[in-house]
Amino acid sequence: MSESYVKEDSSHTIGVEFGSRIVNVGGKAIKLQIWDTAGQERVRSVTRSYYRGAAGALLVYDTTSRESFNTLSNWLNDTRTLASPHIIIILVGNKKDLEEAREVTFLEASNFAQENDLIFLETSAKTGENVEESFLKCAKTILAKIETGEIDPETIGSGIQFSDQAIRNNIQNRQKQNSSCAGCRP
């Protein structure tokens, strides 16, 4: 599983990259359209345009880089202002395997997540730990919000599409992975 996330080449994202993934939530196959936007500050204004219409976002920082954690609020602000107001944001601290180089504690990040109403996870793209979970969590939360009526998939720009199959259980989520540090790479 981890290979699917750890790209062998170590090239950085130019602007935005695209991927998709089907996850299974409660018997429903959900297709996630994933837009991986570059995390460098210099391309921030370029990638902004892709935020609109996303149903969920993964905000990724590097647990071994204080700097990447510090810029989170900027990215969060962008996401909140540009995407739909009901966007589900998952805060992801990557590189949890590099415990000795850690600069941001779990507690600090989870406090930040709590203050900003985010779901928080720490992952390791290298070992694959929690990577699938973070996407799953996002999909689950979106589904739950649809069921409670907090999100109306009919609203334009919700980023959610029901598929045209007779059994209406296939939901696509347009989703963005916002990697404020080298993304899901180790």
Binding site: H12, I14, V16, F18, V46, T47, R52, G149, I156
Partner: protein, 634 residues
């Protein structure tokens, strides 16, 4: 919708006759570029689905939609201010101080230009047109006057008069301007005013008069704009931060006495330019994303998407459509065109960096370019796009430059890919489900999300109240109410038991129905709902032009159309998400229909039909009443 269907038909026809659709290869497209300069038509079709504030303001069509949108937000003054400043700038730029006489004609040109721009921006903003024209004509007349004065060089008296007159105006304005200034600035302005008065007192100097006389053309315009938008209690007040205001005020004051007209004009223009930029930023921040979600922009999008000249470029440069195109390419696996789009995305994002404000870091750009190169161009590339050697060499050359022209190194492949994708996928995409989905999404947005698909409840978000159907005892009371009102002929009241029995039966197999409490508490709301405003529709035309009936037409129901529509009213306020509920609803509906038919059945009198209608109306009313009481008591 009609327009759209027509276009689709045409597209299909042309497509069927087009055997090139699939045979197009990358090589062919490359050849277009290698053989000769590509014909401009195929390469640079204008992009219309832009989503950036400057593009919207500078495109006449989008501007007119934006103006309509701002009108609904009662924030027209921002865009008016912006337009006035554009007109002002256009006029000033057409006016070079050194060639005053000649500038009359150039001035006229720019005026015509601005007028043209404005008249094109739709009838809906005619008010603005009027304002601007007004403004333009004022400035032109004042300008003409000054020219005449100058050539005649005799009218000293008139000059003095006019200077005095304008002095009064200016002083008045300055007073108002100073409201927003600090004491320091105020005293400065006062001092200037005094100086100016002294100068005016020492008339007789024609040179000085001439100088003074020439300024009003600029100044009057500037002051007019200032008075219109920046004075505190103006109707069109645009709130600028104090720093912009004071800068503008100072520029206006300075320009009154400045010796160097060029410089004074420039500071004034600069100050206005800053203010304009600020307003644009404001509009971007406060209105842009809302506008892009609004029905106005959706209308525009539909126009573009259904126009015959729609090209792939429109899709590529509109993010919302791009999502669907991406999905389309992904599903179309055997064609394997996704890498081309991925390259296009990366490369255009790479290009965009040159538009950014900050300094370009060539090293960074180079490493970005290399990433793209290694991914799609290099002979070792994992997902090679199979460009010819010639193109690859050109890209390599482009990457190896040492100046900022490196941002252009992918320009050619980007163009090639655009045409390539356009030729091999676009027609298919336009016919695809996904494109229709996108289009119908946008069309739905125009209706303010009111067009609900037949099975989707309207009121998911509203608080819902579970309604137990009235108990028998309560219903008796209701029935007696009806009798008391004496609105029903006897024949019906004698059969009331039937209705009661019906309701009783209903009671048995109806579970809790979720009914929107707000709708019931105020029956009038039913009619004010957006869906009702559009008429009580029973069906709709879907993306394929087929008529879809929202409700199954019950057999024989033609005899009681009115009661049917009433039922739909009720039904639309019921959360029909749950298919079970739907079934139950249908069965109750049928039972009720049968019951009503009993009234209508025997005598074929139209009066009986009318009565049946009334009964139905009353039942609806009663249910509403009951729930209203429920609501209050609970």
């Amino acid at each position: 919708m009609f327009k759209f269907l027509k276009n689709e038909n045409k597209k299909k026809i042309t497509d069927d006759n087009d055997p090139n659709d699939k045979t197009c290869t990358l090589e062919e497209v490359e050849n277009i570029f290698c053989d000769s300069e590509p014909d401009s038509e195929s390469v640079s079709s204008q992009i219309r689905l832009h989503r950036n504030i400057n593009d919207i303001l500078n495109d006449r069509t989008t501007l007119s939609f934006f103006i309509q949108y701002l009108e609904t937000k009662s924030s027209l003054s921002f865009v008016k201010f912006w337009l006035d400043l554009e007109a002002f700038k256009a006029l000033q730029n057409g006016h070079t101080p050194l060639l005053r006489l000649e500038s009359r004609s150039s001035n006229y040109n720019s005026k015509a230009e601005v007028k043209h721009l404005l008249s094109n921006s739709n009838d809906d903003c005619c008010e603005i047109n009027h304002d601007i024209e007004d403004c333009i004509s004022v400035s032109t007349t004042s300008f003409t006057e000054s020219n005449i004065d100058e050539t005649e060089e005799t009218a000293t008296n008139i000059c003095t008069d006019e200077v005095d007159h304008s002095k009064v105006v200016y002083n008045d304005d300055l007073e108002r301007m100073t409201q927003s200034l600090t004491d320091d600035e105020k005293s400065k302005i006062c001092e200037k005013n005094r100086k100016k008065e002294e100068e005016v007192a020492g008339v007789g100097d024609t040179e000085l008069n001439k100088k003074k006389k020439l300024q009003p053309s600029i100044l009057e315009d500037a002051l007019r704009i200032y008075r219109k938008y920046l004075v505190t209690d103006s109707v069109y007040q645009v709130e600028l931060p104090a720093e912009y205001l004071s800068k503008l005020s100072l520029a206006l004051c300075d320009s009154e006495e400045s010796e160097d007209k060029d410089e004074e004009k420039n500071t004034l223009l600069d100050a206005f330019e800053d203010a304009q930029k600020y307003v644009v930023d404001m509009m971007e921040k406060d209105f842009l994303s809302d506008f892009l979600e609004s029905s106005f922009y959706s209308k525009y999008t539909v126009d573009v998407l259904t126009s015959e000249s729609l090209s792939l470029r429109e899709i590529l440069y509109s993010e919302s459509a791009l999502f669907f195109f991406m999905e389309f390419l992904e599903q179309d696996k055997e064609n394997c065109k996704l890498p081309y789009l991925e390259f296009w995305l990366s490369a255009t994002n790479f290009q965009k960096q040159k538009n950014q404000h900050h300094e370009l870091d060539i090293q960074q750009l180079k490493s970005d370019a290399l990433v793209i190169y290694e991914k799609w161009f290099s002979l070792q590339a994992k997902t090679p796009l199979n460009f010819s050697n010639g193109i690859r060499t050109k890209v390599e050359e482009g990457i190896c430059t040492i100046d900022s022209s490196i941002t252009q190194c992918f320009d050619l492949p980007i163009k090639i890919v655009e045409i390539y994708l356009d030729r091999c996928c676009f027609k298919k995409f336009v016919k695809s489900q996904l494109f229709f989905k996108h289009l119908s999404e946008v069309i739905n947005k125009i209706d303010g999300n009111a067009v609900n698909k037949s099975n989707n409840g309207i009121i998911r978000r509203n608080s819902s109240l579970s309604l137990n159907f009235p108990t028998k005892s309560r219903h008796r009371r209701v029935n007696s109410d009806i009798v008391e009102k004496k609105t029903i002929p006897r024949s019906i009241s004698t059969q009331n038991t039937l209705l009661a029995g019906l309701d009783h039966k209903k009671n048995k197999n109806t579970t809790d129905l979720h009914i929107d409490s707000r709708q019931l508490a105020d029956p009038d709301l039913l009619w004010r709902r957006k869906s009702s405003v559009n008429g009580l529709f029973f069906g709709r035309v879907d993306a394929f032009g087929r008529y879809e009936r929202d409700f199954d037409l019950p057999s024989g129901s033609t005899s009681i159309p009115s009661s049917k529509s009433l039922f739909h009213l009720q039904r639309s306020s019921i959360d029909v998400d749950d298919p079970q509920t739907l079934l139950e609803l249908d069965s109750t509906q049928n039972r009720f229909k049968n019951a009503v038919r009993k009234f209508v059945h025997l005598p074929e009198d139209s009066v009986q039909q009318e009565i049946a209608w009334q009964v139905a109306a009353m039942i609806v009313k009663d249910v509403t009443n009951i729930t209203m009481h429920n609501n209050k008591s609970s």
